[in-house]
């Protein structure tokens, strides 16, 4: 077994909403080896997205240890966490979350603004990422001029462009028709198999989960079982 890119030990996550405290994750322990494509499944409210947020460094645990790409995330402050995200994680969301006023190419360039690359290098890298996801011909188009599938490819290119260690995908096919969803899933599978990207994907869709190498099921804030490699 290769080294774990994601390592969680006894992770708790509790939210306080007004006077109420909600226990979302309880004592969660998990290892995801480097280069694995994992699908996180489970009913709404089971804690999938919370777990994804913790793995992606968008949120911090109430208790426990989280180590991703060799970095203890539970010990980082907000600034360090932002820098860590810029260097190690790419995010793909259900609704693409592209900047509506920027072209596809400019959207993909966004993470590169945080690097020391020149304008020309940023453009070259953005175009390379768009080419990789098969949408270079739409580089000058704005998100409202793209179909859902195309927009999600741009979002994937944006997630890839800084060459992150880990891709974190939250329902990436949830807003797409079957054909577009399959295209996006094939693309993620290709990135995992041919480019060695580690991927953690939250999905409700069993067909989407089949593209992953392993399926994890959650319910009431805990992992039910660890699936086996397909």
């Amino acid at each position: 077994m290769s080294e774990a890119i994601v390592r969680l030990r006894n992770v708790d996550k509790r939210y306080t909403r007004g006077k109420q405290s909600v226990e979302v994750l309880q004592g969660l322990t998990l290892d995801i080896p480097k280069g694995e494509f994992v699908a996180l499944m489970g009913p709404s409210g089971s804690g999938k997205t919370t777990l994804l947020n913790l793995i992606g460094g968008l949120d911090t645990p109430t208790a426990g240890e989280i180590t991703v790409a060799g970095q203890r995330l539970d010990q980082l402050g907000s600034g360090a966490l932002a820098r860590w995200r810029a260097n190690h994680v790419g995010f793909v969301f259900q609704f693409y979350n592209l900047m509506p006023m920027l072209s596809a190419q400019r959207n993909v360039e966004l993470p590169l603004l945080l690097t020391h690359l020149s304008s020309a290098q940023r453009k070259t890298n953005a175009m390379a990422a768009l080419t990789l996801v098969g949408i270079a011909d739409r580089a000058k188009h704005k998100p409202n001029e793209l179909s859902g599938g195309q927009a999600q490819r741009v979002a994937i290119a944006r997630a890839l462009v800084a060459d992150p260690t880990l891709l974190v995908c939250d329902e990436p096919t949830g807003d797409l028709d079957r054909k577009s969803a399959d295209d996006v899933l094939h693309l993620l599978q290709m990135l995992n198999r041919e480019h060695g990207k580690s991927i953690v994907m939250v999905t409700h869709d069993p067909k989407a989960a089949e593209f992953a190498g392993r399926q994890l099921h959650m319910d009431k804030g805990a992992l039910l079982e660890a699936g086996t490699l397909v």
Partner: protein, 388 residues
Amino acid sequence: MKYFPLIWATLWRKKTRTIFTLLSVIVAFLLFGMLETVDYAFSHPSAGVTGADKLITTNKYSITLPLPIADAQQIRSVPGVAEVTWISWFGAYYQESKNFVFALPVDADSYFNLHKGEFIVSDEQMQAYRNTRTGALINDALMKKFGWKVGDKVPLHSTIWTQKKDGSLDWTFDIVGTFSVKDPTQASAQSQTLLFHYDLFDEGRSFGKGSVGWFEARVSDPSQSAAISNRIDALFANSPNETKTQPANDFTMAFVKQFGDIGFVLRAILGAVFFALLFLTGNTMMQSVRERIPELAILKTLGFGDGMVLELVLAESLLLCVIAAIIGLVLSFAALPIIKQGLQGMELSPRALIPGMAAAVLLALIVGLPPALRAMRLNIVDALADKR
């Protein structure tokens, strides 16, 4: 610079709203530029009397109260006074009240002796002026403005002085010559000036004979101006016509202040305009940031730190305000000739526009800071919760 395309694109995310906001800020800064220019003109007036060696003596209680012409002899006798002349406010216009003419009745000998070397007049025309009782010497710019020529008769309507012969307010002068000024900084101040004989004025008016509006004195040693002023005023202490003597520039300021505290009025108007603008622009910026919460959350997700998000929102506010301010101030600069028509004799300067840029930056920071702080404090998970 690398963030500029992002900031620029964000600024134009809602084009219509941005255009209307820009227009409102442009209009505010156009007004700011114009009022600042007017304020500058009123706070740096140049009514044709300049120089550290010039003193003006007026009635102690008001420059609208006259002084006896005979006081000139006593002022001349004060040690340190090199020359004295006297002038009255004629208050005239040509044909229509908008055609203001800075007409001054002056005593030719003492006036030109006091202002020796300041005016450019040909000897021939100066001689003609001295020889013509109804003669007038007129500034080149004023001649050009009304298309007058030497030899023309010019009727002027005084707003104060009726004629003894028929009670008319209309006075007619013969143009015998033109003049210009050597000091280019005085060109604008003198551009409306018409000089005519005090004797004609004094003998022709139906009231006020033997009185003057003010005395102008030239001192031999400008460093002694304060002491000489005191000596002049001491001469007339406890007399029916007590005097107030002050440097020429102070007199000009006091003259302008007859109209009230222009600076205060202008600042009050500007204050109201900018107060309204703060709410308008501030509300627009808040609304803009509110609408973009998911986008700001995405930037944070991608690794943009809290400080950088704050800077991006502030930069957007700065860009909006500075662009609008530059356009507004340039327009107000372009409007200078129009303002000049309404402020004849006043010196206008685009230097008055410099505070505009400082105001733009201040405005940007005030309206940009609350939404920028909100963006900075944004919690990614909460902000994305509705968007996913």
